[in-house]
């Protein structure tokens, strides 16, 4: 079954362990500049948002590539770069609306999230599950339940207030 990476930014504690393990997993190097995931922060108000590749259906990176180096993985559905074809023009970096396509100045290569071949390390190391890896056919089930819980609680609260009045 196809699974997708999801983000619940409210759960992110901002520790950036995901950035660390991502770069170590892919390159054997600790360097957030090599990470496929990045925590964008507003430190003065304590807001942290993990930014990831959305593996878009109508993917601008794939569409713009002049040599057709970007294709979709048949097993896991992520977009992957064939470095044998890639000419390093960085058009994909320019068009990605999320900044998820990155460029490595040392290796002179573009790089992106490949879901670690089906076992995303960012998810494995995030105890909070601010990033999660869920089946694409029910990715909103949990969200619906969370929202329903809130609704239910506020409705009960509203009823209690009414009765009180």
């Amino acid at each position: 079954m196809e699974k997708v990476l999801t983000v619940d930014f409210q759960k992110c504690t901002g520790c950036r362990l995901c950035e660390l393990v991502c770069s170590v997993m892919h390159d054997g190097i600790s360097n957030p500049a090599r990470s496929r995931i990045k925590i964008v922060k507003w430190e003065d108000e304590g807001r942290y948002v993990p930014m990831i590749c959305q593996q878009c259906e109508d993917a601008p990176c794939k569409n713009v590539c002049p040599v057709g180096a970007i294709s979709r993985d048949a097993d896991y559905g992520f977009l992957t770069i064939d470095h044998a074809l890639c000419i390093g023009c960085r058009s994909c970096v320019s068009v990605c609306p999320f900044g998820a396509m990155s460029y490595n100045q040392v290796d002179k290569k573009v790089f992106k999230c490949d879901l670690c071949g089906g076992q995303p390390q960012c998810v494995r190391f995030c105890d909070e599950k601010a990033v999660d890896f869920v089946a694409s056919d029910n990715m909103t089930v949990k969200k619906k339940r969370d929202a329903a819980t809130r609704l239910y609680a506020s409705q009960k609260h509203a009823v209690a207030i009414q009765e009180h009045v």
Partner: protein
């Protein structure tokens, strides 16, 4: 490689900057972080130098594991001769600074001299620049950090900065990064201020190649599971250090009203659960945040709920802010604690020290040793929230007679105030004690008396002594990596065997500080957490360096002895109340008034305390005067110091 990170020497008087590699032989002797800083201090600080003079070298460092694939390698260490104690100055902070400095190419900085006008240091991918900071002078700690980001156009810059307290040379001003990470103790912020150095800003994208990446990743996963499965850490992860404060208060181990009491009554509004409610109401259910690479996330986020600072965002409060703005001045409102915490973070001053100083002044005021003449009319009673917060402003800005006097630290202030004010100052080596009461716990009393930077809980405290662990478990922990078959007691009121525990913890914490990891990841609050047996693997997988547990123990011993050598050189003597390993008389003479049956009525026994210190010295390889024996110096290879290899 982590091992190719460099050391930089920056002279602010001449503008000369030199970078050098750190030789592997030095790594093998001192690892990095606090241990290597101790070596640098002993080698670079001229004997008897003025702590606020240009000669005093300021070291800023990350541990040997900084930014590697190990858990929580976030700690930044700062060292210099302390303007507060005149002895060892050393402070440690979390956040994201040290890893960023490592990605920028550096593990250690040695900053000397004094700039003619305010400057900051900008370090970016191996390059170092001294830049004008006139526009930053007078700004708060966070304003400074955001302004540097704006000036240089990079949101990911991390800075270690001082606030107004550091600029005004408050002798316990700290160095801060982020919202609340503070290298709090011994006045390192004043040293920066004395050099006209407002900030050190770092940003890096340089690779740190991991020696054995697959093993490092897998071992890190296992390591983190060990850390987060400890109950103490999951509680830390939801309530933060206030939970320790709450537990300590329930039991009666909390310094209250400047040592008059050991338990705070009417603390309902500042109990950890109440603070958690405020954080939930002002931020949301997910309000915990953490340092780099750490899954414990022990700090809360909050907004001040009411009062003149209502709506201001901050992080914490930690145990120390609850002590400083709660128990010590006997102020009972969450608003006061949260506001006080915000003020010290903005001014950049050690919350622990400032809270102790104000509580001390409050006791002196109630005793009539100082009067409204000295306080410029301020009614400095215990429980006066407004007076407490007003004193924070006055001290940080050195306003009024008392604000200026208290800003100089406890001992100088006691000399200016006169009478018998010194008798009420709860300090060791010139630095105030944590807001805890050690009269029921001889092990903890020995720890604060002998800690290398003054009265302090993070140098050698066997906190697990309070858990009454079975002797079998104590033997397992304290019987390795070097064998120990002397007494060990599960009872925290005992004196037997405690010196070994303090000695063991002293080495454990030194090792942690050399690695650059957090103490919540070792035997500090949790007995099952990693220690000497586990670290060789982490170091090997990440750096390729091989050590045995015993070798790490020896490194820790060597570094601790270097700190001792520095203190002895600068005038430490065993029984000196102002510069020695001695406690305030109140520990021996005044029984604890409140608390559980195992603390109420207790004092520390003078004779038994003396015997503990003797035994502790013996374990350390020191003589009865606390001097390092030549056999110890030889065993640890310290007899050639200062060797000036770096």
């Amino acid at each position: 490689m982590a091992l190719d990170r460099k050391i930089a020497y920056i002279n602010l008087s001449t503008g000369k900057i030199e970078t050098r590699p750190i030789p592997i032989e030095i790594r093998k002797k001192f690892l990095g972080g606090r241990g290597l800083d101790a070596y640098l201090l002993y080698n670079h600080a001229p004997e008897g130098c003025d702590p606020l003079g240009p000669d005093n070298p300021l070291m800023i460092s990350g541990g040997i594991l900084a930014a590697t694939c190990a858990s929580a390698t976030a700690r930044t260490h700062i060292m210099a001769k302390s303007p507060l104690t005149g002895l060892l100055g050393s402070a440690n902070m979390g956040g994201f600074f040290a890893p960023e400095m490592a990605w920028a190419g550096f593990h250690h900085l040695v900053i000397t001299g004094k700039a003619k006008s305010p400057v900051y240091i900008w370090i970016h991918n191996g390059k170092i620049e001294i830049r004008d900071a006139a526009y930053l002078w007078g700004k708060s700690t966070t304003e400074t950090q955001w302004a540097i980001r704006e000036e240089l156009g990079d949101e990911d810059i991390k800075s270690a900065v001082i606030g107004q307290a550091g600029e005004k040379l408050v002798r316990y001003a700290n160095v801060m990064t982020g919202i609340k990470n503070a290298a709090g103790r011994t006045g390192m912020g004043a040293v920066m201020g004395s050099k006209n150095l407002k900030a050190v800003a770092v940003r890096g994208t340089m690779d740190i190649r991991i020696a054995h990446p697959v093993d490092a990743l897998e071992y890190n996963k296992q390591f983190i599971e060990g850390i987060t499965s400890a109950k103490v850490n999951s509680t830390q992860g939801s309530l933060g250090t206030p939970f320790i404060w709450g537990a300590t208060n329930s039991w009666g181990g909390l310094r209250t009203r400047n040592f008059q009491y050991n338990q705070m009554e009417y603390a309902d509004d500042i109990e950890p659960e109440r603070l958690d409610e405020i954080a939930t109401e002002t931020i949301g259910p997910n309000h915990m945040t953490g340092c780099f690479g750490c899954q414990v996330h022990c700090r809360a986020q909050y907004k001040i709920p009411s009062g003149p600072y209502a709506g201001k965002y901050d992080e914490g409060p930690e145990y120390t802010s609850l002590g400083a703005f709660g128990a010590e001045p006997d102020c009972r409102k969450a608003e006061t604690v949260l506001t006080g915490n915000h003020l010290v973070n903005q001014y950049g001053v050690d919350n622990l020290e400032i809270g102790s100083m104000i509580a001390w002044a409050m006791e002196l005021y109630e005793l009539g040793i100082i009067t409204s003449k000295e306080t410029d009319g301020l009614d400095l009673r215990f429980g006066n929230d407004e007076a407490l917060l007003e004193m924070v402003h006055r001290i940080c800005l050195r306003k009024g007679w008392l604000g200026d006097v208290l800003a100089d630290g406890g001992i100088p202030a006691s000399e200016k105030i006169g009478k018998n004010s010194f008798d009420y100052l709860i300090q060791v080596k010139g630095m105030n004690n944590l807001h805890s009461d050690e009269r029921g716990t001889p092990a903890l009393a020995l720890n604060i008396a002998t800690a290398s930077r003054g009265s302090d809980h993070l140098r050698s405290r066997p906190a697990i002594d309070l858990y009454h662990l079975p002797e079998k478990i104590l033997r397992k922990i304290y019987g390795s990596p070097v064998p120990y078959d002397g007494p060990l007691s599960s009872e925290h009121t005992d004196y037997e065997g405690k010196p070994w525990q303090v000695f063991w913890q002293q080495n454990c914490y030194m090792a942690v500080d050399c690695l650059g990891i957090c103490k919540y990841h070792t035997v500090f609050l949790g007995a099952t957490l990693p220690n000497f047996e586990d670290w060789p693997k982490v170091i090997y997988y990440n750096t390729g360096l091989e050590f045995t547990p015993v070798e790490l123990w020896e490194i820790a011993e060597r570094c601790n002895n270097l700190e001792r050598m520095f203190n002895l050189r600068e005038g430490l003597t065993r029984n000196d109340l102002k510069k020695g390993d001695m406690l305030n008389h109140r520990y021996f003479d005044e029984p604890a008034r409140r608390g559980a049956p195992d603390i109420v009525g207790r004092t520390i026994d003078r004779q038994k305390f003396k015997k503990m210190v003797d035994e502790f010295y013996n374990h350390c390889g020191w003589d009865k005067q606390g001097l390092i024996t030549s056999a110890t110096m030889e065993r640890l290879g310290l007899n050639q110091e200062p060797s000036h290899l770096l």
